[in-house]
């Protein structure tokens, strides 16, 4: 009840004026550009996450080096750090007063950077356990049959990791679509340029345009719920076919 009722209120509010009013609210130029931007930066973020998350998981599982324990612990930091602090830390280093002489503040690059920060653990944490359990004999067998490193990776390791990688990406994408705290400071929230959907919703609430806020919220809700259901269904499917 505690979860369902508030969501019902949002959906009811967005449907108040009928389907055409809902459509009008979602298709105003500002709303469309915010939604497009959100999907775009989220896709960019998860693509980078997919590569670097897997690399990090690989290094944490297969590599040995001093200080590895600390690095392992650090991976969880973005989950523990308040999102607003995440945004501020990135601004301190890569913002207008940073030491590098360039600034990503108020740019789309800045938004992607903020999203990369908060979603770092998803792919790493999804891939790590699978990699730990991966049978190394398969790789050795392939190598002894003359497969090069590249072939082993492409034909043996990647197919085994793929489900976990995609699950991590799904969760990260859902998180990106709704992220607010990390993005709000760094993006500058310029309509049509750097305003993502969650910031757009916030602005609409502030200016008392609750219907538009509710309508865009429903779009976000639908996307992220579908994604999470997809990830859960994929996990169930896999459990059934492997168990």
């Amino acid at each position: 009840m505690f979860v369902l009722l508030p969501l019902a209120a949002v959906i009811a509010r967005s449907a108040q004026g009928g389907a055409s009013a809902f459509w009008d609210a979602v298709t105003t130029p500002q709303a469309v550009s915010a939604l497009e931007l959100t999907v775009g930066v989220s896709l960019a973020t998860v693509a980078i996450n997919l590569v670097f998350g897997t690399v990090i998981a690989w290094v944490l599982v297969r590599d040995e080096f001093p200080g590895k324990g600390i690095v392992k612990g650090l991976i969880d930091l973005p989950f523990a750090l308040p999102t607003i602090v995440a945004g501020l830390t990135l601004l301190a280093l890569y913002g207008p007063k940073g030491p590098f002489g360039f600034s990503v503040a108020f740019t789309r690059v800045g938004i992607v950077l903020a999203l990369l920060f908060v979603t770092l653990p998803f792919v790493v944490r999804a891939v790590q356990p699978v990699l730990l359990e991966l049978d190394r004999e398969m790789e050795e067998a392939a190598a002894s049959l003359g497969a090069g490193r590249r072939t082993v990776f492409r034909r043996i390791i990647l197919p085994n990791l793929m489900p976990a990688m995609l699950a991590g990406v799904g969760l990260a994408f859902a998180r990106c679509m709704g992220e607010f705290g990390a993005v709000v400071l760094i993006s500058g929230n310029l309509p049509f340029k750097t305003e993502v959907a969650s910031v757009f919703i916030f602005g609409q609430i502030e200016s008392d345009n609750v219907t538009a806020a509710a309508a865009v919220s429903v779009v976000l809700l639908a996307v992220s719920l579908l994604l999470l259901m997809g990830v859960a269904a994929a996990a169930r499917w896999r459990a059934r076919h492997e168990g």
Binding site: L81, Y94, R149
Partner: protein, 264 residues
């Protein structure tokens, strides 16, 4: 061998640029004018009020979600009933929903024009733009952690020991306290830590319902944002360091618990 070293360098450089250096920079900026200046910036009346209000959020949301979380996990693992799959996916909804949407939902329910708005106004209860609404937002956002951590542990320990306890004459209550709770304690602890971290740092949902009145409805994360927007960088950085220190503490205790679980 060289390839693996190159991978390691890539991974570590990525983490340094994205995580370590930015967080380090905030610490540096906070203390570059000395500890006294940082202390002064973080002990303004507004900052102190924000700190206590944040602790209040944690003090209400964490126990509420712990009790609910254990109960909900027990129901999900031990009982079969129609609609169980629905409940199972409902629990995850707060993870999937944007915090801003959560805030909007609460405004639509409890705000002046909301579903319960008139009733609440008649009874003189203010939820939106007041701590009560912020607490509701915090509970909503941090709802799934304990459930999600306890469910797999419960599934693993099974119900045999409980059944043994009840054949030996233990009441359900006794069985819970003496058998079930001790066996799931690490799962609960892990969930509580995650809940605490989230409750401390929640910004989006709380800022929608808070109205952001300095010294009244500002939590520490909101204080960081407001200080930054008002060009009070010292205040923003020093409050961030307090939150970052709490986050580091969280990560540390998470790792300790993991180790405890492994060595057990």
């Amino acid at each position: 061998m060289r390839a693996s070293r190159r991978l390691r360098a890539v991974a570590l450089a990525y983490l340094a640029l994205l995580l370590v250096l930015p967080v380090g920079m905030v610490f540096y900026r906070t203390f570059e004018h000395g500890v006294a200046a940082a202390w002064a910036a973080v002990t303004t009346p507004d900052a102190i009020h924000a700190f206590w209000l944040t602790l209040l959020m944690v003090a209400v949301a964490v126990p509420a979600n712990t009790v609910f979380g254990i109960g909900c996990a027990l129901v999900l693992v031990r009982q079969r009933f129609p609609g169980k799959a629905l409940l199972n996916s409902l629990v995850d909804v707060p993870f999937a929903v944007s915090p801003v949407v959560v805030g909007l939902a609460l405004v639509l329910l409890y705000g002046r024009a909301g579903w319960f708005g008139t009733w609440l106004a008649d009874h003189g209860i203010q939820v939106i733009f007041a701590p009560l609404g912020m607490i509701l937002a915090t509970i909503f956002i941090s709802l799934p952690f304990v459930v999600r951590e306890v469910v797999p542990v419960l599934r693993e320990v099974g119900s045999e020991q409980e059944e043994a306890a009840s054949t030996l004459g233990a009441s359900p209550w006794q069985a819970f306290w003496r058998v079930t709770l001790p066996s799931i304690r690490w799962g609960v602890a892990y969930g509580v830590i995650l809940t605490t971290a989230r409750a401390l740092g929640e910004f989006g949902a709380v800022s929608v319902v808070s109205g952001k009145l300095a010294g009244q409805t500002e939590t520490l994360p909101i204080h960081v944002e407001q200080a930054f927007q008002n060009f009070d960088l010292a205040g923003a950085y020093s409050a961030s360091v307090v939150l970052a220190a709490l986050a580091l503490l969280t990560v540390l205790s998470m790792n300790l618990i993991k180790r405890e679980e492994v060595t057990r």
